[in-house]
């Protein structure tokens, strides 16, 4: 079991340790710093959120998770 | 409309009516509704109002022992008639059978529809001593209750019809 993933913005340890869980945390918090970090990765926070909301499955979270993995 | 301030050009006219056995003489604008005379002029606030479309029955009173919706009657039309409101059910401090039955059956919750509901039940029982379940439900169909789901009210009327309660 590797180190639990930490939120690149607030450093919060992901609940179940995974990057996908951390991505959920970032959307769930959704405040300015978290939004800005996501935008800084060249993604649109709102577009990802709306895709997550309107399409079955988890794609948006996976996309963000991959980026989070990289920066750990 | 609430408030009977001395405004409005319309000349007022004399109305004589009996409410709960008491004679009243009032000067009113002819467009005044019976419920307005009862609540705002005479000051018997037991009778309620819940809509503007003669739908809810909260304003139900008895005119000559008939249940009517007092928001759908011009006060001038009951000239000389006898009106009974919820306040007229109890006799020298003793509850009427239907009031006792409402207590025993928990046939009210917020209580706002209760005065009108009681008058519909009382009028029904005056007309039909032992109504069937269907007759009871039809008897209160014109009264909306948002709290009880009506069944406890039906039980209360049936209990009175069974003779479980005596006057006084």
């Amino acid at each position: 079991m590797s180190e639990p993933v930490k939120c690149p913005v607030c450093g919060k340890k992901a609940k179940m340790g995974t990057a996908i869980d951390c991505a959920r945390h970032m959307f769930g918090t959704g405040d300015k710093p978290h939004r800005e970090w996501i935008e800084a990765q060249g993604l649109s926070f709102i577009d990802l959120m709306i895709e997550q909301a309107t399409t079955p499955g988890n794609r948006s979270y996976v996309v963000l998770a991959e980026i989070i993995e990289k920066v750990q | 409309m609430q408030g009977e301030g001395g405004f409005g050009e319309m000349e007022k006219q004399l109305l004589k009516l009996k409410v709960n056995g008491q004679e009243y003489e009032l000067y009113i604008n002819p467009k005044t509704l019976l419920v307005e005379v009862i609540r705002d002029h005479i000051g018997l606030t037991g009778t309620k109002r819940g809509c503007e479309t003669v739908s809810c029955g909260a304003c139900t009173v008895m005119v000559d022992d008939m249940a009517v919706k007092s928001c759908a009657v011009l006060a001038v039309q009951v000239e000389g008639r006898h009106v009974t409101t919820v306040e007229g059910l109890e006799k020298n401090g003793k509850l009427a059978p239907i009031q006792k039955a409402f207590l025993d059956q928990g046939a009210y919750q917020c209580g706002f529809c209760t005065p009108g509901m009681l008058m519909s039940c009382e009028a029904l029982l005056k007309e039909t001593k032992t109504p069937t379940k269907e007759e009871v439900r039809e008897g209160i169909e014109g009264n909306i209750c948002r709290c009880t789901g009506y069944n406890s009210i039906v039980r209360a009327v049936e209990a009175v019809a069974k003779g479980n309660y005596r006057e006084g």
Binding site: K15, R24, F27, G28, G30, I46, M49, I50, Q52, A53, T54, P56, N58 | M1, Q2, G3, G5, F7, G8, T45, T47, K48, R49, G50, C51, E52, T53, S55, C56, A58, T85, V86, E87, L89, E90, L95, Q99, F102, L103, G106, Y108, Q109, C110, G111, F112, C113, P115, L118, E134, R137, E141, I144, C145, R146, C147, T148, G149, Y150, N151, I153
Partner: protein, 758 residues
């Protein structure tokens, strides 16, 4: 033999006499000397800028005393989610912009209601009409108009719940089903419309009479918007003509009457018409649900994913809580290896949505319990046994959310199965539908940010043995005063008629969050029990001191009889003990204090009620007409406190929940509600109600007073789904929208026949 002398016995409501004799004074009935009557001018536009308001002509009308607009207010954006400033988004008397048809723009006070109404026509408002949007899925589009600055794509709040490895659990599933549902709004339709009388006096104090579910909240919210101290505001709500979740936010009747009274220094009364109550108070939250559920062939639940959009209307209100609770209760009352909920509340130019009896759960159950029924049919499994296999049990932990102490759902299944079996074969136009549900017993949320304990109570005992019980809990017809009197009488060892309940007045009653979230029986109940026991202890100290009993003996008071528990026959009258105790305290009255705030009880609630309901429905296949014939509800609310009150709550919840299932429909056209009256908005009448018997399941909730849990609100949750399931079994059609109207049934049946022809 009842181990209690008062609890679960037949008692009259403590306010019964007042209510059956017409003596009860509601806000609607209040009349103060010199009182003026107020009316509110409302926006005809769903979305517009206010350029100018000219009310000079209105003031010229004889008998018109004053007019106020947003400019007369502090312009505070308020909301009940006080902890979260950005969710405080409603000005009530708007200053610059209107966001729904019916939003208040000005208020008039005059000598009569009629004059105030005439004056409204003389107020000239110039609007710049803005583009409007009415549906969540339109409101999140790039090109949609923005309702509130800073809320990108009009997304107001999002809520996310997840536990377990959802994707993994879906992979384990052998059968996956997905459905899209649409749940409508619903009007609270309290018989007493929103009403308030405000009286501001030169000493800087404001007294308001208000038809309220939480006088304490009103006190706090008013203080915030009027710039007064909470302590200088007195809120009185002695009798309230219904609430159902619609009367614990600041409403325009209260706010506008207060602003007018502060400007004019006279009492001002505002009563909403029924139409105003329909178009300009809040409503049950309309929701669209996407639900994907994965199960094993043997019916074992694996995973569920739900994506939900709620139509928030123009403002936040209590909608954020409804958004969370619908997501949580959508998992109820089952165990999921993986569960994911993504909820989005979207602003639109419609009437704001908020809490209503069930608080998001009736929508959740309409979707969940129908889909579960269909899955059982798809797999050829017994729907009740499949539910049983996956249901909660005592001690079950909902990951990161809740710990279930008491849970009688399994016995509920037994009772309903037996009832259905005894019914035998039904005529072919009839069928029975079932639905399970659960609900919280008091929300552990403090978005209001109260510094006080959630519930408090004070008990004082007079020299003659009568008891004054002071509670901040609010009786809105659900009978909380009676329930609390019963708990007090039981704890103290006296009778209900010895108790006088003082409530609905912030000047004399301790702070309490009020009547919402099914909290009062458990939270206020615990506070009352604690206060009564505190007072009783003070009495028993005296009893012990003069009993001369061996210290191993325990004394108690039951039914006004002070006695040794081991020797019940040896005792004396409670009244005598009270006299001695007061004398012994140098004449001080006996005063007991109690309070309750949940700690370490999870995210949602200290306890949960459970139920399963079966509804027998008769359907006219040709017209689609739906008739409810019979029903049974198996119900676990822990230890029942007030037998009569419990039956009333069940029957009442049924009529409201059935209305949501097949009658109560709120159609909008261009942001305008099309049926804002009781002719076109249909509520159940006496002739439409079936028998609604209840089978109480005997459980004991350790966190509840005497083992009690909530019993009034959760019962609104199962009915709409049960009706839908009955229609499914009668006709084989799956209707994914509520309310289920006859025309929908006929169309669904036609589509089914066409499918079968192909």
């Amino acid at each position: 033999m009842n181990k209690y002398s008062v609890i679960n016995t037949h008692v009259h409501n403590v306010d019964g006499i007042a209510k059956v004799t017409g003596r009860a004074i509601y806000t609607f009935d209040v009349k103060l000397p010199g009182m003026l009557y107020g009316k509110i001018l409302r926006s005809p536009h769903p979305h517009a800028k206010i350029l100018n308001i000219d009310y000079s002509k209105a003031l010229e009308l004889p008998g018109v005393i004053g007019v106020v607009t947003g400019k007369d207010t502090l312009g505070v954006k308020q909301g009940i989610w006080r902890r979260y400033q950005d969710l405080c988004d409603e000005q009530i008397l708007t200053v610059d912009k209107v966001r729904y048809i019916g939003e208040p723009v000005a208020a008039v006070a005059a000598l009569t209601e009629e004059l105030a109404e005439k004056a409204l026509d003389l107020i000239d408002v110039q609007y710049e009409v803005l583009p409007a949007v009415y549906e969540p899925l339109d409101a999140i589009k790039k090109e949609a108009p923005e309702l509130h600055a800073g809320f990108e794509r009009n997304i107001n709040v999002t809520r996310h719940i997840e536990w377990g490895d959802v994707e993994g659990a879906f992979e384990e599933a052998e059968y996956i089903r997905e459905d899209w549902f649409k749940c409508g709004g619903q009007a609270h339709m309290c018989m007493e419309t929103r009403a308030a009388v405000s009286s501001y006096t030169p000493d800087g104090k404001l007294t308001v009479y208000h038809s309220s579910q939480s006088p304490y909240y009103m006190q706090g919210l008013l203080a915030g918007v009027l710039g007064l101290k909470e302590g200088n505001i007195r809120v009185i709500s002695h009798y309230v003509g219904g609430g159902f979740g619609g009367k614990f936010e600041l409403d325009a009747a209260l706010f506008c009457s207060a602003v007018l009274s502060m400007k004019l220094h006279r009492p001002v009364k505002i009563v909403f018409t029924r139409e105003e109550d329909f178009i300009a108070t809040k409503r049950r939250t309309p929701m669209s649900y996407y639900v994907r559920t994965g199960v094993k062939k043997d019916g074992t639940f694996c995973a569920r994913e739900a994506k939900v959009f709620t139509n928030g209307g123009a403002y936040t209100g209590m909608g954020a809580t409804a958004l969370y609770l619908t997501g949580f209760f959508h998992s109820f009352p089952y165990r999921w290896k993986g569960y994911r909920y993504d909820g989005y509340r979207v602003y639109t130019n419609t009437l704001p949505s908020t809490s209503m009896r069930g608080f998001g759960a009736p929508q959740a159950m309409f979707c969940s319990e129908q889909q579960i029924e269909w899955i059982a049919a798809d797999l050829g499994l017994d729907p009740i046994e499949m539910r049983r296999k996956n249901a909660h049990y005592p001690g079950y932990v909902v990951p990161d959310q809740a710990t279930i102490a008491s849970c009688g759902i399994d016995q509920c299944f037994d009772v309903v199965q037996k009832w259905i079996k005894e019914k035998g074969k039904l005529p072919e136009n009839r069928a029975i539908g079932v639905s399970a549900a659960g609900f919280m017993s008091g929300g552990i949320f403090n978005w209001f940010d109260t510094p006080y304990s959630f519930s408090s109570a004070v008990v004082t005992i007079n020299y003659d043995g009568t008891v004054e019980l002071y509670v901040g809990a609010q009786d809105i017809g659900q009978g909380s005063n009676t329930t609390l009197a019963i708990i007090c009488a039981e704890a103290l060892g006296v009778r209900v008629e010895d108790i006088k309940v003082h409530s609905g007045d912030t000047e004399h009653c301790p702070a309490d969050l009020g009547a919402w979230g099914s909290r009062q029986t458990l939270m206020a109940g615990n506070a009352v029990k604690m206060a009564a026991e505190d007072a009783k202890k003070q009495l028993l100290e005296v009893a012990y001191a003069q009993s001369g009993f061996n210290i191993i003996y325990d004394l108690d008071i039951k039914n006004r009889w002070v006695h040794a528990i081991a020797r019940p026959e040896r005792g004396y009258d409670y009244g005598d003990l009270v006299k001695k105790a007061i004398r012994g305290k140098d004449g001080q009255r006996i005063i007991g204090r109690g309070y309750y705030t949940p700690h370490r009880k999870g995210m949602i609630s200290p306890a949960y009620s459970y139920m399963m309901q079966a509804v027998e429905v008769e359907i006219d296949k040709e017209t689609g007409k739906i008739k409810l014939v019979d029903s049974l509800t198996a119900h676990d609310c822990g230890q029942p406190i007030n037998r009569l009150g419990l039956i009333g709550q069940l029957e009442g919840a049924f009529s409201m929940a059935a209305g949501y299932g097949y009658l109560e429909y709120m159609p909008y056209e261009d942001g305008k509600l099309m049926n804002p009256n009781l002719v076109d908005y249909k509520v159940m009448r006496a002739t439409d109600m079936p028998a609604v018997p209840v089978a109480e399941i005997d459980t004991y909730e350790p966190e509840g007073p005497y083992g009690a849990k909530e019993a009034g609100e959760g019962l609104t949750n199962p009915t709409a789904a049960a009706i839908g399931n009955a229609i499914f079994h009668a006709l084989g059609v799956q209707i994914k929208e509520c309310p289920i109207r006859p025309e929908m049934v006929v169309n669904a049946l036609r589509e089914k026949e066409e499918r079968e022809r192909k």
